[in-house]
């Protein structure tokens, strides 16, 4: 007896599930950005006093110029799609553990008024994902119940057909629209 056990390795796998409540301090700069979203439904970027580029979401310093980014501007809430992802892979939302409904669309939005390379990354509500293209005009939709987080922007929504603006032109406000 025991011979069978000797020839076959017993593979025991120890199963463990971690669930970790976390609390992240925002600091005053990101704190202002989140407060403006929550209280005033405004998307605020800060700007480098040296090179003039916006940072969205805002960061304490301009990493390129190594100076504090002290100026603030409201951007959007309209803008254009720069890049987008149509996601078919049902990955769990890491913040909730819930599996997301697919396909969904995420986009990098160049908000009107942005100077420099600062697209905002967020979800795009696109009834037909196959119609999403760079240059598509979009607008931020705010959540009814806001709590000072990125989810205070519920998603972006499409506001018209692709504009004639060239992909890559991300300076200056949009043309006045009918």
């Amino acid at each position: 007896m025991g011979d069978d056990k000797k020839t076959e390795q017993e593979l025991i796998v120890s199963r463990q599930v971690l669930s970790i409540p976390q609390r992240f301090s925002t600091g005053p700069v990101m704190g202002r950005f989140l407060r403006e979203l929550r209280d005033n439904k405004r998307i605020m970027a800060n700007r480098c006093p040296q090179c003039g580029r916006h940072q969205l979401p805002p960061r304490e310093v301009c990493a390129l110029c190594r100076v504090e980014a002290t100026e603030w501007d409201e951007l959007g809430p309209e803008g254009t799609v720069r890049d987008f992802d149509v996601v078919f892979y049902a990955s769990p939302d890491p913040l909730s553990g819930e599996t997301r409904k697919t396909p969904y669309v995420a986009c990098w939005a160049d908000l009107d008024g942005t100077q420099g390379d600062a697209p905002l990354w967020h979800l795009l509500d696109a009834p037909d994902p196959s119609k999403v293209r760079p240059g598509l005009r979009i607008r931020a939709v705010f959540a009814d119940q806001r709590k000072g987080s990125m989810e205070d922007i519920k998603h972006f929504e499409i506001i018209d057909e692709p504009s004639r603006r060239e992909h890559g032109d991300r300076t200056g406000p949009s043309e006045p629209r009918p």
Binding site: Q9, L11, V13, L18, Q22, F24, T26, M30, L34, P57, R59, A63, R82, D83, F84, D85, V86, V87, F88, Y89, S91, P92, D93, P94, L95, A106, W108, D117, P119, W121, H122, L123, P134, M150, E151
Partner: protein, 398 residues
């Protein structure tokens, strides 16, 4: 430009078998396989090793100090050591650190170990938690994105772009079929490129399951020695010529204006007299997490213009017997134990220089080999290895 105090060479390397499930071994046992193979390769024992560098991405297995647990498998008991963890670049950061430590004169023989046992954690969850906790985590889906596919399709047309990406994937599989350590060996067939491109499971946009790298378990170990040691041991060396690290901000903008790949390549080539990388470099082990990134990044790493990178794939230049072989090992699309992956690139480049790559040795002579590492959120490390000893000490890391 400052000079190294002394030359450094890779004199041995080892890898565990890569697989989706190494349930028959625990972490120390898996690492032990790689360490033993590296020591055997260099005809050494652990008694010869001065210092052990150890790295992975702890968000995957969620083990706080794996280097402590692994001492029984890696032989580091009582030795000097450092644990490094820099995300996807961890493996090549280990190689850079080993080079720096030996070049400085601090230690003569350093063992660098990278590992990951992705099956023991949650890969996409781990990668997603590297996003900025204040704004990125709700959106990121691990390393999956279709933006590069869209960019290449927009620039070169859908049919040509999709065919080039899937052909590169198939060439990687042909290489993996020659590499006994590779995880995914799929028997892909060039007859069916269009079927693969059109019908394979979609993950994000035009990024499909076949295009994407694997989730693997595996370990890699590489021995770095000083010039004196190389002579004393009469070792077969691959000399470390130089390495470059380029960081960017912690933002996940795939279409950002600065490519850290291009910036790193420019810096590395300029200070090492490489004016025509496609002619001067004999083989390139690229950290290619997907076929779309591999295709697009060829252009950045080799400083190409226009559609040259597509032509390199279309003309079979990147195959194992081509003029510029990419990943004769099968690359990251075949095997991706993440904390080991970038060290595998260095090990494989060194094996090509040392003529030790067996069935996946490129047929042409290899004098100069390039290895790259990539980390999300978008930064780059490059390492250059040579058959010939660098003259009077190579350049330092800058």
């Amino acid at each position: 430009m400052k000079r190294k105090r002394r030359n450094v060479a890779i004199i041995g390397s080892g890898m565990s078998k890569f697989s989706s499930h190494r349930e028959e071994v625990n972490q120390p046992e898996m690492i032990h396989e790689a360490v033993v193979e590296a020591l055997d390769d260099a005809h050494l024992t652990m008694a010869d090793v001065d210092c052990v560098l150890h790295g992975n991405m702890e968000l995957f297995e969620m083990v706080h100090q794996p280097d402590m647990w692994h001492v029984i498998g890696d032989g580091a008991w009582g030795k000097s050591g450092v644990r490094l963890t820099t995300g996807g670049t961890t493996g090549i950061t280990l190689a850079c650190a080993a080079d720096n430590i030996v070049a400085s004169g601090l230690h003569d023989l350093v063992l660098a170990i990278g590992f990951e046992k992705l099956q023991e954690g949650h890969t996409t969850g781990g990668i997603t938690n590297m996003a900025d906790p204040l704004w990125g985590r709700g959106l990121q889906t691990g390393a999956l994105t279709g933006t590069t596919a869209q960019k290449v399709i927009d620039e070169f047309g859908e049919d040509r772009a999709k065919l080039a990406a899937i052909k590169l994937r198939t060439i990687m599989d042909e290489n993996a079929m020659r590499n006994p350590k590779a995880h995914r060996r799929l028997h892909l067939d060039r007859e069916h490129l269009k079927d693969y491109a059109d019908t394979d499971l979609r993950l994000v946009g035009e990024l499909r399951m076949l295009h994407m790298c694997s989730q693997s378990d595996g370990a890699c170990a590489v021995l770095f020695a000083s010039e004196d040691k190389v002579d004393q041991l009469n070792a077969n060396p691959a000399w470390v010529v130089d390495h470059v690290t380029v960081h960017r901000e912690e933002t996940m903008i795939f279409s950002a204006e600065m490519s850290t790949h291009r910036a790193a390549a420019k810096r590395l080539f300029e200070r090492n007299g490489i004016t025509d990388p496609r002619k001067q470099i004999d083989v390139f082990e690229m950290y290619d997490p997907s076929a779309w990134w591999g295709l697009d990044w060829l252009s950045d790493f080799l400083l190409l213009e226009g559609d040259e990178h597509l032509k390199m794939v279309e003309n079979d230049e990147v195959g194992i017997d081509g003029e510029m072989p990419i990943n004769p090992s099968g690359g990251v699309m075949a095997s991706n134990p993440i904390g080991a992956t970038a060290l595998v690139r260095v090990a494989e480049a060194a094996m090509q220089v040392r003529g030790a790559a067996g069935d996946h040795q490129v047929p042409k002579p290899v004098k100069l080999a390039l290895a790259s590492g990539f980390g999300g959120t978008l930064w780059t490390i490059l390492m250059l290895l040579s058959k010939d000893k660098p003259q009077s000490g190579a350049t330092t890391h800058g």
